[in-house]
Symmetry: C2
Subunit: 338 residues, 2 copies
């Protein structure tokens, strides 16, 4: 099959790769009607995080079960399923507490920018929809696999409650879906920090009530102005840099909550400053599995439409264009058709 | 009056100081039947944190109202009151959210190692007991002012729930009262990290079910062994060093909670490591005011006896001995009689 492989910084290619096969009895093979590029794929693409030579790319997926290993009991051929970027057994103590991305048997899923994918620990990882989704729901289902689940976790970790004042740091797909999540959770005021007009527009469509274009301490100052000097109840950090993290912490009122989902790159928190900020801090790799059933239901009911973050659609063999467009921030998120 | 003044590292003296007077209409003057030395007083005493020359010491207090400013409406002469080390108006948005130690008008209280004390923002800061406490309740009432309130906040910030497995890092007075707090909140298992026999004994009396004497990564390893490799639900960090903070974070299960109340000295948290730990982190200067009514009630009912942490009692004029005994860890906490 034709699949996506990263060879080096800015060197991503589609090439012939072996078809995935059942390797463990707990595996499933699924076929992918669509796939996509994640903001976190840009870290290795830009050479910021190291990766093994010739890495198969892609970790967001949904599709039709083609084959299951003999140990798989809850899934059958033909079902439409969604999973997370971490395979999990969904039975260990960490899974029981809702932290499937820290499952004691967590296994990263890779190689999803392709027509077919092997998913380990299929019973624990995959959630089947009751019915096959319509074609126009499929991008939203795909978004649940990572960006939507991650935005939702950011809002949940930031303890967004009805009536809350929320700030979202980061206007990538995750940040925008953090806005959508905060809106669903009943936030009254949602301040999106963004300087890109197309992203501001989608942010407003998803529920942002205010836009702040300033960054760093100026951005914090603006948030303070907008909140009568108090700060926000809940802040979603969806970038992962030192500046964005400090922007998030400083924008939060004492006793407020920072939910951080941007994978930290070079972030270091001063204990003394954090102590006197009085914020709650929670985050990490989103336990998407915890939310899948609920989010699938919201998509079917038409309450959320996270697929709107895909503003560029390309055939898989033009994946390199998709990476470039996201790298240059011309596209929010690229949908690929294998 | 005779009061305690810190002149330099290891140079604490009792000397004649002016009587406190009403300076603002919102002040109260209280007389202190007892006072005490805080673990945090040891930071400047040891020369680790800087302080102005000739600093009047002491920030834990309870006692009888002697005089109130004309702006004070809720207190009257003769009442027994307890306050926190931060004076707060108890009306600003941060106070309303229960973070009185981040009050928009927060004012540190100082000079309580003395027979009398001026308390600013008296209406917001002081909580009067319904009746005058018996003499044997007074040390416990004094403990509420800081150590007990701080231990309670640590347990609350660490989300201790009935049935929880809790770890307490630090066997100072705050750590020991963290054990007591976790017990009150219904923890099933309380693992105290301590290597001092007298502190272990008090820890067990307060509710510790296990003692771990190892520190750092060995300590973490021991916690993992004791929790079937899972880690604790709630960890109270009551020290404030890099080692203790990392010990706390690494002892917590993914999705678990670290409540940290040790004032961080030289602590720096790596964002990447924190992210993948999946812990909740909350702490800061304890908003003692939030808990005072509840804790006063528990002392009157005989449900908690935090005054037990005072294992050395001295007249105020021997305060220097009290500092030395705590500095050398011969005493857990020194009670002073002015």
């Amino acid at each position: 099959m034709q699949a996506t492989v990263l060879y080096g910084p800015h060197d991503v290619r589609v090439e012939d790769r072996p078809e995935p096969t059942i390797e463990e009895p707990t595996d499933a093979i699924i076929s992918l009607p669509v796939t996509c590029i994640c903001g976190s794929d840009l870290w290795p693409y830009r050479g910021i995080s190291v990766f093994p030579a010739a890495t198969p790319m892609g970790h967001e997926y949904c599709g039709i079960v083609e084959e299951v290993g003999r140990g798989v009991t809850s899934l059958r051929r033909g079902q439409f399923v969604i999973g997370s970027f971490f395979a999990s057994d969904n039975t260990c103590p960490h899974c029981h507490h809702g932290y499937q991305s820290s499952c004691q048997h967590a296994t990263p899923v890779g190689g999803a920018q392709a027509p077919r994918l092997r998913v380990p620990l299929a019973d624990g990882t995959l959630v089947a929809t009751r019915d096959l989704p319509d074609a126009d729901h499929i991008p939203s289902m795909l978004a649940l696999s990572d960006v939507m689940g991650t935005g939702w976790f950011a809002a949940d970790a930031a303890n967004v409650k009805p009536g809350a004042t929320v700030v979202v740091v980061g206007d990538g797909a995750v940040g925008l879906l953090g806005v959508l999540s905060a809106k669903q959770m009943g936030a009254e005021r949602i301040i999106a920090m963004s300087r890109h007009e197309s992203r501001q527009r989608l942010g407003r469509e998803f529920g942002a009530t205010d836009i702040v274009t300033e960054r760093g301490d100026e951005g914090v100052e603006r948030i303070k102005q907008l909140t009568n000097g108090v700060g926000a109840d809940s802040v979603l950090e969806c970038v992962g840099t030192q500046e964005s993290m400090m922007q998030a912490i400083k924008s939060t009122r004492p006793g407020g909550y920072v939910g951080y989902v941007g994978v930290p790159h070079g972030v270091s928190l001063d204990g003394h400053q954090l102590f006197f900020s009085h914020v709650h801090l929670h985050g990490g790799p989103a336990p998407v599995r915890r939310y899948l059933s609920q989010l699938i239901d919201l998509v079917f009911k038409g309450k959320i439409n996270p697929g709107k973050v895909f503003d560029l659609v390309l055939p898989l063999d033009r994946v390199a264009e998709g990476y470039r467009a996201m790298d240059e921030r011309r596209a929010i998120k690229t949908l690929l058709r294998p």
